[in-house]
């Protein structure tokens, strides 16, 4: 009975999370442009999507930035987490405060402060500035996902590896990193997700010429969203689902 209630509760939360997504997907198959009136099934918006240069460009910017930022932030953040973990107490506390600073700063302040930096150093805002900004806000999240794993790890495992003749580098790649692999993966996924979904920071750190999907949607929101943007999200959603099913299938097979 308890088990049923628990499942039911989780189910309700998931329904809450998925209802707008369902609406979005249904809208993308609507023949008309209306958000609420069903005018028949059609693939019209999917066709228009691929002929819309602005959307395709924004898609390229979004995905490439998310991937590059994820890779950079994961490397930078994992190394930083290992470094911070082995620091003495005082510098560690300082580092943690500074790492928490971007997280504790609201997105809008981060965005504005980076905008000021780029304006101040006269770096023209565009693709590169957006990428730098994304790496900057992704990295603390990676650190904060990896550090708890390091803390939960037995402190002496690393020392044991050294005693048994491992070089520090070998001990890190073969002991520490496997131990906090889950944290690294979580961090990387979080970084990618945040980057794909980011609007506020991108909004302040790019020019109107280089738009990602979020800033494109924002500028279109007042005129009414093109249903082809819904079509794109539906496609991304389905692609993601398939990817996840494959990954799940693989892990199930390997077991």
């Amino acid at each position: 009975m308890m088990k049923f209630l628990k499942r039911f509760y989780l189910g309700l939360i998931l329904v809450f999370l998925y209802v707008p997504i369902g609406v979005l997907i249904v809208q993308s198959f609507n023949a008309g442009k209306s958000r609420v009136k069903w005018e028949g099934f059609s693939l019209r918006w999917y066709e228009e999507l691929f002929h819309d240069a602005r959307i395709m460009n924004a898609l390229y910017v979004t995905v490439s930035i998310a991937l590059l930022a994820m890779i950079a932030a994961t490397i930078l953040g994992t190394l930083a987490a290992i470094g911070i973990y082995s620091m003495k107490k005082r510098p560690q506390a300082l580092m943690m405060t500074l790492t928490n600073l971007p997280n504790t700063m609201p997105d809008i302040v981060t965005g504005i402060s980076l905008m000021l930096l780029f304006l101040f150093t006269k770096v023209e805002r565009g693709y590169i500035t957006m990428l730098l900004a994304h790496i900057a806000f992704d990295t603390p999240y990676v650190i904060l996902s990896v550090l708890p794993k390091l803390k939960q790890m037995n402190k002496h495992t690393y020392e044991a590896a050294l005693d048994l003749g491992a070089t520090p580098a070998y001990a890190i790649t073969h002991v520490i990193i496997p131990e906090c692999k889950q944290g690294i993966i979580t961090g990387a996924m979080l970084a990618f997700t945040l980057s794909i979904d980011d609007f506020t920071i991108s909004y302040f750190t790019t020019s109107p010429l280089i738009q990602n999907l979020s800033t494109l949607i924002y500028s279109a929101a007042r005129k009414g969203i093109e249903p082809s943007l819904n079509a794109l999200s539906a496609l991304m959603f389905i692609a993601l689902l398939i990817l996840l099913l494959i990954v799940n299938h693989r892990t199930a097979e390997s077991k």
């Binding site: 628990k6 989780l10 999370l17 209802v19 997504i21 609406v23 809208q27 609420v36 190394l79 930083a80 290992i82 470094g83 973990y85 082995s86 580092m95 943690m96 500074l98 928490n100 600073l101 971007p102 997280n103 504790t104 700063m105 609201p106 302040v109 981060t110 504005i112 402060s113 980076l114 000021l116 930096l117 150093t121 006269k122 770096v123 023209e124 565009g126 590169i128 730098l132 900004a133 790496i135 900057a136 990295t139 650190i143 904060l144 708890p148 794993k149 520090p168 890190i172 997700t193 794909i196 979904d197 609007f199 979020s214 949607i217 924002y218 929101a221 969203i225 819904n230 999200s233 993601l240």
Partner: protein
């Protein structure tokens, strides 16, 4: 394709920084006969100085100067009284008589209070909804943990602006919910363009940020502790209350942080679901910078925001005296 212009001294500073970093690394390797592990953090330290510390200093600089770069506190006076400048002009022109014509402009303070209140409500509701969800996800009997994590992440991959706009099609006067109500024979209700709609949008967007950190902490918790508590005679409620909840405090604090911060300053959600009726602090800051072009007052508002958040965070940290949450929160 993308040109990047940096003044010569910018490049010079970067080069000097890089040289200093490499120098430090070499010295340390020589001294320790190997790389000290704490040095792994050094690329990040450089990165952080350039992209976190310097930008924050810039905000402080603009907040304490006027348009000509001269030190001033007027930007903060403007926060307290947005009519500050016009009032000064009236008082100068009319002398004592002017007092009858001036009034304090409270828009900035009012907006801040409203935003904090909304963010507080959002955080409490997210915690009440999210804690049980995280707890059930981590339940070892359910064997669903990792699948559920994925299910909670997927919605976040959909663009949040589009998801918010999708809520609009549900909540509109002619939206799906109202159409459904009318079909059932009820009257339609005004669901959009009020604080409740904004709150719903915020909860919808930030709930996963509450669930993940709590789930992570509970999942990694030693489950034998709960078993031991059960063996020693605790019923499941008491185990939850005495064992699981105290141990999950770091996750809760982290979750509160991750929900509260973005909800104070969100500016897209109130703009869409509130229809401009409900201005939040984020809206205000954004319009100061991009609409009015007043960087100085905008920076002062940002700085006030940051300080308030830092204060509330340090209060939160008190709830976690061991600093366990320091790693996450």
């Amino acid at each position: 394709m993308y040109n990047m212009t940096l003044p010569w001294w910018g490049w010079a500073m970067m080069l000097v920084g890089l040289a200093a970093f490499i120098g430090m690394l070499i010295i340390s390797i020589r001294r320790n006969h190997g790389v000290k592990r704490s040095l792994f953090a050094s690329p990040y330290i450089l990165w952080m100085i350039l992209f976190t510390v310097v930008p924050v200093i810039l905000i402080a600089y603009y907040a304490f100067t006027d348009a000509n770069g001269v030190f001033t506190l007027n930007n903060f006076r403007n926060f307290w009284d947005s009519n500050y400048e016009s009032n000064k002009v009236i008082m100068e022109a009319m002398g004592e008589l002017g007092a009858a014509y001036i009034s304090r402009g409270t828009v900035n303070v009012d907006t801040l209070v409203y935003s904090l209140w909304m963010a507080f409500k959002c955080t409490v509701i997210c915690l009440l909804l999210g804690y049980p969800a995280a707890l059930f996800m981590a339940d070892r009997n359910m064997k669903l943990g990792s699948t559920l994590v994925v299910l909670f992440i997927i919605p976040m991959w959909m663009n949040f602006l589009l998801r918010t706009i999708a809520w609009m099609s549900l909540l509109e006067d002619n939206g799906l919910i109202n159409n459904f109500l009318r079909w059932l024979g009820f009257e339609g209700v005004q669901l959009m363009y009020n604080s409740e709609a904004v709150l719903l949008g915020m909860i919808y967007n930030f709930l996963p940020f509450m669930v993940f950190p709590i789930y992570t902490v509970i999942n990694k918790m030693d489950y034998r502790l709960s078993e031991a508590a059960a063996d020693l005679g605790c019923n499941s409620w008491k185990t939850l209350y005495k064992v699981v909840m105290p141990l999950s405090v770091p996750g809760v604090i982290s979750g509160i942080t991750m929900v509260f911060m973005p909800s104070v300053t969100t500016f897209f959600i109130p703009r869409m679901l509130g229809g401009g009726n409900t201005m939040m602090f984020g809206d205000l800051i954004e319009s100061k910078f991009l609409v009015e072009g007043n960087w100085n007052v905008g920076s002062a508002l940002s700085l006030i925001m940051m300080v308030l958040i830092l204060i509330s965070l340090s209060i939160l940290r008190k709830a976690d005296p061991n600093g366990e949450g320091g790693g996450i929160a």
